[in-house]
Each structure stands twice: as C-alpha cells, then as structure tokens.
Symmetry: C2
Subunit: 428 residues, 2 copies
C-alpha cells in the first residue's frame, strides 16, 4: 500500500468513492458499539465474583489486631489491607491511607483540601490569585476536569515516548511559584500506554520547584495491569526515589483496585511521606470516622496476598490481550503504511491512543458515531477539551466483546481513511 | 432523700466521706469501661451478619433497570436503593443522591463545596470575610468540628424541650447575611434525645434568612432508631414542609444506615430539592465516577423494603432498650431527688444527656476516668469544646454490655454526687 500523501487527487477521489460505499454498508448495519470508556467487560467482572463468597454470615470480621471491621473506627485503613495495597504499589504499609472506592475521589479531595487549607502549612490556594497545574498531554480527562473545576490554570506538557517532556517540566516548575502540581499516569499512561523511563522518574524526584507546596500527582492506576507475563514495563518507585533524592514530600501516589476487583466497589488509597500523611490526616479525621473496613477485609480475604493478586491479574490479561492485539493488528494492517496516523503498542493499561493527521480527530469521531460506534470525544484527552492539533483519539478496547471490537475498529480505520483523504484533497 | 442544697455543711462533709470510701472501692476494682461514643455493641452488629449472605458468587448483581452494579457508572445511586432510603427518610426517591459509607463525609463535602464554589451560584464562602453557623447546644461534636475546621464562626443556640430556640434562630438568620447554616439533629437529638416539635419544624421551614445561600443542615441520623414500638416520637418531614412553605431549597437532609446495618459499611445519602440536586451533581460528577453500587444492592437485597428495615430496627431496639432503661433507672433512683442534675428520657437515638450543676461536668468526667470509666469529654457537645456552664455530659449506653453499663453508671452517679458536694461546700 502506498502512503496517501503520494497519491494524486484522482486516485484519492477514486479511493474515497470506494471507501465511502463501504462506509454506507456499515451505516446500514445499525451498529451500536462503544469504545469510549475504560470499563472492564462482563467477562472480567466475572473473575471477581468469588469475592462475594469470602465473607458470609459465619465469618469472623475481626482483623489480626483485634479490630471489629463491622464497627466504627480506624481512620486510615486496616493493617492487612495496607499491607496488600502496599505490596501492590511497592510502598511500605506505613506510608498508606486507604480511602473508599475511588482514587479519583481522593485526588479531588486532595486538591479541594489544598484549596481550602493549603499544603503543609502553606497558603491555601483559594487565597492565591493564580494556581497552575502541568498537564502532560494527551492525558486523562477526569484529571483535567478536577483542576478545571477549581479554576486552576492548566499548562500542556507534550508526552514523549519516555514520558512528559522533562526539560519543559523542570524549567516551568523552577521558574513559576504558582505551579502547584502535575498530573501523571506514569505506567501504561492514559491514553497512550507509555511508561515513564528511568531517567524521567529520576528527574521527577529531583525537581526543584519554586513552590514549596508543589506536589507530583502520581496516579499509578495501571501499576499491575500488564498484558504480557513475560514482557512488562517497569517503573522506578517514586516515593523511594524522592526520598533518595532528598525530596521526600514531593509526591502523592494514588491507586485503586477498581480495575482489579470491581469498578466502584474496590478499595482506593494514597501513599506519601510521613509529613504529608500527618497533614492529610488532620483533615481526614474531620471528614469521616473511617472508610468501609468490611470491604477492605473482603479484598484481603479474596486475594490473600500480592501473589494472589498477581495471579488474578493474569486472568484479566488473558481477556484483555486478544482485544488489544485485535485493535493493534487492524491498525497495523489497514493503516500501517498509509502515513495518516500513528499509535503506540502498549504493554498494559486500558487504552490505545491514535493520532490522526492534524485537524482530523473530531471529524473521525463524528463519522464513527454516525455509523453507530461511540469513541471518547476528540479533545477529551486535553485540558479544557481542546486538542490544539485536533489529532488525538482515545481507543478503549476493554468493554466490547472481541467480535464487536473488531467490527468497531474496522469501521474506525475506515473513518480515518475517509477523513484523511478529505483533508488531503482539501489542501491540494 | 433530701436535695443536697438543703443539707448543712456538716451533713455534706459526712456524706462526702461515705461516698468517697465507696469511690475508693470502685477504684480498687480496676474497671475499664467506655460510655464515650455512640457505637453499636457486638450483639447489634450480629443482627446484620445475614447481609454477608445476600450476595454470593452465584448472585445476579444487575439492577431492575439493567445496570450491572459491578461496573462503573450511576452517579447518584441505584434506583432500588434510592427507593429504600427514600422510604426510610420519608422523601421521594427522586430527591436523593446516595453516597458512600458516611453521612458525616457528605456534610463535610457539602461545606467544602460551599467554601470553594458557593451554593447555587452565590459567592463561594472562601471569598467572604466571615461565615457563621448556628449550633444548637448541646449538639454533635463532629458537626462542630467540621465548621471549626473551615474557620466558620459558630454561634450557640440553646436547645429547649421543643428543639432549638426558634425565636433566636429566626432573629439571627433574618438579621445576619453571614449566617449560612444551622446544624440540626431533629429526631432523638444527639445528645439529648429531643425530637423537634411540630411548631419548631414549621418555623424552620418558614425561615426568612438574609442569606440566599443559607441552608438547614438536617442530620436525620436517628429517624428510625426508636426504643419503643408503641411510643415513638414523630417529626414533620422537612423537605415537604419547606416546599409547602414556599422555601423548597432551604434544607439539606442527611442520613445513613450506619446504625442500621454496619457502621462504616453502610450507605449514606443526601435528600434535597431538585435545584439543590442539580447544584450538587455539578460537583459530584467531577469528584467521582460513582459510589459503591454493590453495597447499595447488598442493602436492598437484605432489607428488601422499608418494612424489612422496620422489623430489623425492632431487634436493635430490643437490645438498646434495656441499656437505656438501666441508665435512666439508676439516674432516677440515685439522683432523682437530689437536685444536682437533670436529664431527658429519650424514646430513641443513641444518647442520654446529663446536666450537672454549673461548673461540675469536667470534674465529674475526670473523676469517672480515674476510676476506669471513660465518658465523652465534658465540653465536647459544644462548639470549640467549650461548655459555658461546664454542665453537659453525654452518656452513650449502646456499646458496653448491660452489666458493664450498670457498673459504669453506678460509678458515674457516685462521681456526680461527690463533685456536687464539693461544689456546694466550696460556695458555702
């Protein structure tokens, strides 16, 4: 196959006609497929049904330390759960506070607390004229929604194959005291599936921010979400690295079991330095008497330990791997030589990010929609929903069945081809 | 028995000597009893163990409307749970948002949102010089802790046998635009067990606050927590009453199943007007993808409907009633005629409030502590922990066994007697 840019106008028009006929056929099928959100499929949810059996009316709901999980108390999580989550994110149990079901909620609360009460004695952000956040792009729309909601100015940082552009990050945080944080999904990033390189993590831990209350928001959402047992990305553990670099308080690390057990009924946690933990608990003890300990215990009894969780994640991988490979194979086969788009081959996580030619993403998503395939809205992966190049599209392969996914992806590549041809002709 | 105030100094000294000998005997016993917090006892927790069986690995975790509770989605709670909670608090399901496990957390988040984003388009409180809250006293320490944490100035409102002093409430809210809310526990109040009279509720619904963003924080924590089947307090439903009064947006109503199912593993909710719900959801959709639906479903499957919950609450009452009666009987018998203290006889809830003679509460609590009985710290039932009369002590009869409770209460009345005598002698 020839790259589209090398085709003549006539060739393009002819091709467009053929492809459009194909597109009409798809439209006639009345598809109703969704590749928009990173939701596990039903088969994945079935993997955790055993969790419904580990506690029953005969169970002893008492922790190792004698705490009755059924009653009030224990602000920061039961020890067994801290141990499990600690092993999951490679952090000592003592560095962890377990919350409710949602790590997003923890991130929101962290920003909200910084707004009203500041970070470790610094001025509350609501008293400042300007607060800014760095946003590696493309990134996670719900991160950006939180900072936008609080009126925090967002600055785009390009993602490279090694992670965020650290030259730019270093320069900006050292110059501008109003920059208070950066959103990171360091492993199998949302949406590209990039894992930050060792150098990137080392440079993060050695940042010298102008703002004393600058924190790295390290959303380790996909830490154990590998697709391959024998080919996994590795990531330097950031809390230990910050400690080694003499910056122990620089990072908040977030995680949850939402895509391990049940989304919405999992366990979420923050891990950070002792100083930050003290700061957080001052607020947390006002906000709640404690989170759901019975659910924490349920998770511990189900997985038993980190080995149990790792074995469980292999079953998720067995379901997800064919889906990712199906999408990537179609992209390779159909678009591999056309030079009208680019993408990474992630080894884990929940997404594939596709970059169209500049100015095509919105139109591709709209065209797919008109044939019954819902994608994440173009632009969603950027602050304020604005992709300056209008090129990034997030593909979420997890939720549809393999069959539906193949149909949806075939339609997607067709839409990419059609829109690209239209763009090329337009600029001829 | 003669009232202490009628005794001579010699009589008081003699009595003190006798009582003190008795106190020394208690001290020698090495008691370790806790009447400090409103925690259900283990026997009550056992009532809900069946909840661990209603969902198992063979269960269909799909809602009536087809929602798979195991996956992401549903911001405001599953329909079945809204129906159940609606019946529990006498509010239509459509007026409800279900949250996580803690109504305190909802109240905190409500204040926090008002600080950063304001209420229904009004100025965020963090942009105002002064924000004030009215606090009926004695009241719930954790309410006061939230407003204190946000730097909100708290104004004491005396509790009468009919509820808060409404003359004072009406005057203050109509005069002062900086008053943005009032903390209420309208049924079986914490700590007195008072239920607001019909007139009080009617006057609440007809408040004409100077501040457009004034809201009543109606913490209906003990709505179904009766001690007697045939002798229950009734409370006018506030949301409907506000609607009738032409003030539909005036109130936020909070509730949870913390003392129905498991504390910390229950379901909490807010109920309010459609306008307020829209305002809240704007924030909630940024804060989370959704709360724990599996736990919502677990509650619905366990109680089935409000009748099931009412039957369940009778079992709680059967356990709590003897405990409340034991404490009240000892107070009546030992202190009934001495004129050194007063208390209500609640028909529900979790507490008994005891008022010592002025200036005695701290000393009574300290004396009880020295003999091994922990009470809620004196002053805790007031904003800033300051009881101006130093007279209120909260008794929580639920957690200890009946035997322990009787021992603890006997010691408590002994401490009241001793401290009262010392006070009377001091002022002779």
């Amino acid at each position: 196959m020839e790259a589209y840019k090398n085709l003549s106008k006539e060739e393009l028009l002819k091709l467009h006609k053929e492809l459009n006929a194909e597109y009409k056929k798809y439209q006639a099928k009345g598809l109703k497929l969704d590749m928009s959100r990173g939701k596990p499929g039903a088969e994945q949810l079935d993997l955790s049904m055993g969790m419904m059996d580990v506690l029953n009316s005969k169970s002893d709901l008492v922790c190792d330390d004698g705490t009755d999980c059924r009653n009030y108390g224990v602000l920061d999580g039961i020890e067994e759960a801290k141990e499990l989550i600690g092993d999951m994110i490679e952090v000592p149990a003592d560095n962890i506070i377990i919350y409710g079901n949602s790590s997003l909620n923890i991130m929101y609360d962290t920003i909200s607390r910084s707004m009203t009460h500041g970070v470790m004695g610094n001025t509350p952000w609501c008293k400042l004229d300007t607060v800014k956040f760095l946003c590696p792009v493309p990134g996670y729309d719900r991160h950006f929604a939180i900072t936008e909601y609080f009126g925090i100015e967002m600055i785009n940082i390009p993602m490279l194959s090694t992670g965020p552009d650290m030259d730019m990050v270093e320069r900006l945080v050292s110059e501008d005291e109003s920059i208070k944080g950066i959103w990171c999904v360091p492993k199998y990033s949302n949406p590209q599936g990039i894992t930050y390189s060792n150098e990137t993590v080392r440079r993060f831990a050695r940042l010298q921010p102008a703002a004393k209350d600058f924190r790295i928001y390290w959303d380790n959402a996909y830490g154990v979400h590998h697709l391959y047992e024998d080919d996994q990305d590795t990531l330097i553990e950031i809390i230990a690295e910050c400690k080694r670099a003499g910056n122990p308080d620089l990072v908040y690390k977030f995680c949850s079991t939402s895509k391990i057990s049940f989304p919405g009924s999992g366990v979420a946690a923050i891990a950070t330095s002792p100083n930050n933990l003290v700061d957080i608990k001052k607020q947390l003890k006002i906000q709640t008497i404690g989170h759901d300990k019975v659910n924490q215990l349920r998770h511990v009894r189900f997985y038993k330990d980190i080995h149990g969780m790792v074995e469980h994640m292999k079953k998720h991988a067995d379901i997800l791997r064919p889906k990712f490979e199906a999408v990537l194979d179609i992209l390779d086969r159909e678009l591999g030589e056309l030079e009208i788009g680019s993408w990474y081959r992630p080894k884990g996580g929940y997404f594939i990010a596709f970059d169209t030619m500049d100015g095509c993403a919105k139109e591709v998503v709209a065209k797919a929609k008109k044939a019954g395939v819902t994608m994440t809205p173009a632009g969603a992966t950027f602050p304020y929903g604005k992709d300056p190049k209008d090129s990034n599209i997030r593909i979420a392969p997890s939720y549809p069945s393999l069959e539906d996914l193949i149909a949806a992806t075939n339609l997607f590549v067709l839409c990419v081809k059609l829109v690209s041809i239209e763009k090329l002709i337009e600029t001829m």
